[in-house]
């Protein structure tokens, strides 16, 4: 790829440093193994979602064909490939949480934020994920995950407290 079309500059120095750290954990020539971590940092750098340009930058940085980065990004539910809010809220609706009233939690969150699952608030603050598989916190059902943190035994009050604190 020629320098004129290089997208590596889209990655911040911090992101590149973090990716380097992950690449170093794998044997030489196995840098493909670092894709998952690299995408995590890039998504964080970009306030919560990936763009095709950023994914191509990762591909270029790791010397991979871009499609191999797209494959990973589109497969895992923790990566967003379309613009969305910066805080990711996922309400678990799997069996344990469902039995403990997750439907009500979803309805309450949707009403509070004025959006449906899969949508983001107009101010770009919160993104409500469409679906989340079991997060292995059944003892604390119903639960939700906000930016990789678990909140269990949810009540309307605790939901208000968590969501209102998000900047």
């Amino acid at each position: 790829m020629s320098d004129a079309t290089s997208k590596i500059s889209l990655l911040t120095e911090h992101t590149r440093h973090e990716i380097d750290g992950w690449v170093a954990r794998f044997p030489e020539g196995k840098q493909r193994s670092a894709v998952l971590s690299a995408l995590r940092f890039v998504q964080e750098q970009n306030d919560g979602f990936l763009t095709p340009d950023l994914m191509e930058a990762v591909a270029e940085y790791l010397s991979l064909p871009p499609i191999q980065v797209f494959e990973v990004a589109s497969f895992y539910s923790m990566f967003e490939t379309h613009p969305c809010g910066r805080h990711h809220v996922s309400v678990c609706t799997n069996i344990s949480c469902m039995l403990n009233g997750s439907d009500g939690v979803v309805a309450y969150v949707e009403k509070k934020l004025g959006i449906k699952t899969g949508e983001s608030t107009a101010d770009g603050r919160i993104f409500l994920k469409r679906e989340e598989e079991c997060l292995a916190a059944c003892t604390g059902a119903p639960m939700m995950m906000v930016d990789h943190h678990f909140y269990e035994h949810l009540t309307p009050e605790s939901i208000d407290r968590v969501l209102d604190e998000l900047k």
Partner: protein, 719 residues
């Protein structure tokens, strides 16, 4: 396989029959070798194993579940049932799952009639589906002008993905999304640009990836399948032409593991469109008082005979396309020698002919095509290999990726190779001579000539060649076009001798070897012996006007690199063009146009770069009043009153040349003289003719012209 049981052989039982197999071999390879059919979608013998379609499930005794035959290695004493109730039940269930989302649109699907899914659905499917829910729909992607997509039909076998990864060398397609949302595609809609991309059409077991130019043109069962050989490069890829009512509808590969395996290049696959271009010449034409008019064959041939008879022998020139057949070359060369004219050539893009006397009997790779896979070291001088001979580049890739071969290049520009390259020097023509001189000095431990410095990279390349057992040095088309080709070749030959490598010349055209053997050269007669008088070479013929020209399958302006070609032809008294096309260029220059058969319309023979003679029939009806060129030449020979034009078939012509070659067998081999270096201007350059501009047929193939490589086709000189 020997009957002796060695450590590497295991005894297994397949459907009650004792069978010997190689240890570690996959079950499906063993069943295939023993004519036991196991259904499959994702497995392909030339691709890595994925085991994701599950169609090849078979019952293996003592295994708790059916096992995929493509991914289960055989072991001693294994008892396999491919048609037991358990195996059949597993296969039927997989089939039912595969059909859940598959649209039953076979009547409007181009794959219908040659579809692996359709065939297996007949064999293993139920007549009704238990699935009543909605089928999923996947949006079609636009992946360029060659491959059409109907992604709803996709069964996710990933053959196309694995092809990109392991054969083409660059994955453009992938599997995105998960579960129900899993899709095959490029993610960001883009064209698939690789020069072998059309092979995914054959690989796709369903109708998801199909030929775009062929879309809705014919049904597979209406067409007849006939063998052909590629007319575009010296590899001689084996093809099948599919013909409907005399018309060539499409081209697909014909498996030949010694040459093209199961692949063909896009150029071979889609060039057939050029056969039916709008400027096809359908009847003989004569120019009278500046006006072109259609005439009958007799009138046209009489005019040609009169024109040729009127030409002074030393000012008559014969130019032939390097992709003409052996039969056409033989008759053209016989006509020239019958007229005592030595001005005959096919090397239209070569510029230095000073080494002609040292030319090999035929340009050759020097080794078999299949053995390229096994090379350990290779030096390529002056070749845009992926564009010149795409499948040869793919074999080099196999050697580099699979066998760790050290591949080095000396090229006028940086070309992208999708494999590890040991050393790459970008060098102008003048620098190429210096580079080779440096390599030669390094190889012979001699003092480097003035102006040449031996650097570490030279020592590395020489070391890679010297330490390898199987090694070669190739001169590509850009080397043959080099302004001092003779010097370049003498240096390469000396380097080959010093390192023990085989020297190969990748001459342009499908039949450069045939042209050499048939004497379509100014310094050779048919059979390969030196001519008594040396005539004019192609460049000399086109640099200044001759009295008359005979052009066979040539459009001199587009097919040569001589700047004054158009003016030279315009200045001639008489020009006859045997051509499939009434191109503007020929209409401006010629006095008579004789319509000849294009690709697939004439029977003939090509000799490829490993020296293999491959004959093929004329499979399509020549358009209009066109006739195979060898027949036109035969009649013309008779009209000119020449000897040796009595053949009844192209086989007779070929036999004539064969007899000549047998008689001259054992002729002294020509050795290249001592290395020398001719002066080359520092600003000299070599033209890299774009891969879809190399010959008249390809230039008219509209879909190839619409590809990215076709679009970037303005002729550009490189460095």
């Amino acid at each position: 396989m020997s009957d002796q049981v060695t450590d590497n052989t295991v005894n297994i039982t397949v459907d009650g029959r004792p069978v010997k197999a190689r240890k570690g071999e996959m079950i499906i390879r063993v069943t295939d070798a023993n004519d036991v059919y196991v259904p499959r979608f994702c497995y392909h013998e030339k691709l890595p194993i994925a085991a994701n379609c599950r169609m090849c499930l078979v019952e293996v005794e003592k295994a708790p579940k059916p096992l995929p035959a493509c991914a289960t290695p055989v072991a001693e004493g294994m008892v396999i049932h491919t048609k037991s109730p358990k195996a059949i039940a597993a296969q039927r269930s997989v089939m039912e799952f595969l059909l859940i989302n598959h649209p039953l649109d076979c009547p409007i699907c181009d794959q219908g009639g040659e579809c692996e899914l359709q065939d297996l659905a007949v064999g293993f499917g139920r007549d009704i589906s238990r699935y009543n829910e909605r089928k999923r729909v996947v949006k079609d992607k636009n992946i360029g002008p060659l491959v059409s997509t109907d992604m709803t039909r996709c069964i996710h076998c990933t053959r196309c993905v694995r092809f990109g990864q392991d054969i083409a060398g660059f994955p453009e397609m992938g599997t995105t999304g998960r579960g129900e949302h899993n899709e095959i595609g490029t993610y960001i809609e883009k064209s698939i640009d690789h020069e072998l991309s059309g092979n995914i059409i054959d690989l796709c077991p369903v109708g998801a990836l199909n030929s775009k130019p062929f879309r809705f043109r014919a049904r597979s069962w209406e067409m007849t399948q006939q063998p052909l050989v590629s007319p575009h490069d010296g590899l001689g890829s084996n093809l099948f032409g599919h013909v409907l009512r005399g018309k060539l509808m499409r081209v697909v590969p014909r498996q030949n593991d010694a040459i093209n395996e199961t692949w063909i290049s896009d150029r071979d696959r889609f060039s057939y469109e050029g056969v039916y271009s709008a400027d096809r010449l359908t009847a003989p034409m004569l120019r009278e008082h500046g006006q072109w008019k259609q005439v009958d064959w007799q009138t046209a041939l009489n005019a040609v005979a009169a024109g040729i008879k009127a030409a002074p022998r030393d000012s008559l020139g014969f130019l032939a396309s390097p992709s003409a057949t052996v039969e056409e070359f033989t008759l053209l060369s016989r006509m020239a020698s019958g007229l005592s004219c030595a001005n005959i050539d096919h090397r239209l893009r070569q510029s230095d002919f000073s080494g002609d006397a040292e030319d090999a009997t035929q340009p050759s790779l020097g080794l078999s095509i299949a053995s390229v896979d096994e090379l350990q070291a290779l030096l390529v001088v002056g070749s845009n290999l992926r564009h010149e001979i795409p499948l040869l580049a793919s074999r080099v890739r196999k050697a580099a990726v699979g066998g760790g071969a050290k591949v080095s290049f000396i090229n006028p520009a940086r070309f992208e190779y999708l494999f590890p390259v040991a050393s790459y020097s970008v060098a102008s023509p003048a620098q190429q001579l210096t580079e080779l001189s440096a390599l030669l000095a390094a190889a012979t431990d001699a003092t480097a000539p003035v102006g040449v410095t031996v650097e570490q990279r030279h020592l590395d390349v020489v070391a890679s060649l010297k330490s390898a057992e199987r090694k070669a040095i190739w001169l590509g088309a850009l080397a043959v076009r080099h302004p001092a080709y003779a010097s370049l070749r003498s240096l390469a030959a000396a380097l080959a001798a010093a390192t023990g490598a085989t020297l190969g010349v990748l001459a342009e055209g499908a039949n450069a070897a045939g042209a050499h053997l048939a004497g379509v050269l100014p310094g050779r007669v048919a059979g390969g012996a030196a001519a008594a008088t040396v005539g004019l070479n192609a460049r000399a013929m086109l640099e200044k006007s001759l009295h008359s020209y005979v052009l066979m399958g040539v459009e001199p302006v587009a097919d040569s690199l001589v700047p004054g070609a158009a003016a030279a032809l315009a200045g001639a008294q008489f020009v006859v063009a045997l051509t499939p096309y009434a191109s503007e260029e020929l209409k401006a220059a010629a006095h008579v146009l004789l319509p000849i058969g294009s690709f697939a319309e004439s029977s003939g023979t090509y000799v490829n770069l490993e020296g293999e003679w491959q004959s093929f029939p004329g499979v399509a009806q020549p358009v209009g009043e066109s006739r195979p060129a060898w027949k036109v030449l035969r009649v013309l020979g008779n009209l000119l009153g020449l000897q040796g034009f009595e053949q009844q078939s192209s086989e007779d012509v070929r036999a004539d040349l064969r007899a000549l070659l047998d008689a001259s067998a054992g002729q002294a081999s020509v050795s290249v003289s001592a290395p020398r270096v001719a002066a080359v201007a520092t600003d000299a350059h070599v033209v890299d003719v774009p891969m879809y501009q190399i010959d008249a047929v390809v230039r008219r193939a509209t879909s190839l012209q619409a590809t990215r490589d076709g679009q970037a086709a303005s002729m550009q000189g490189v460095a």
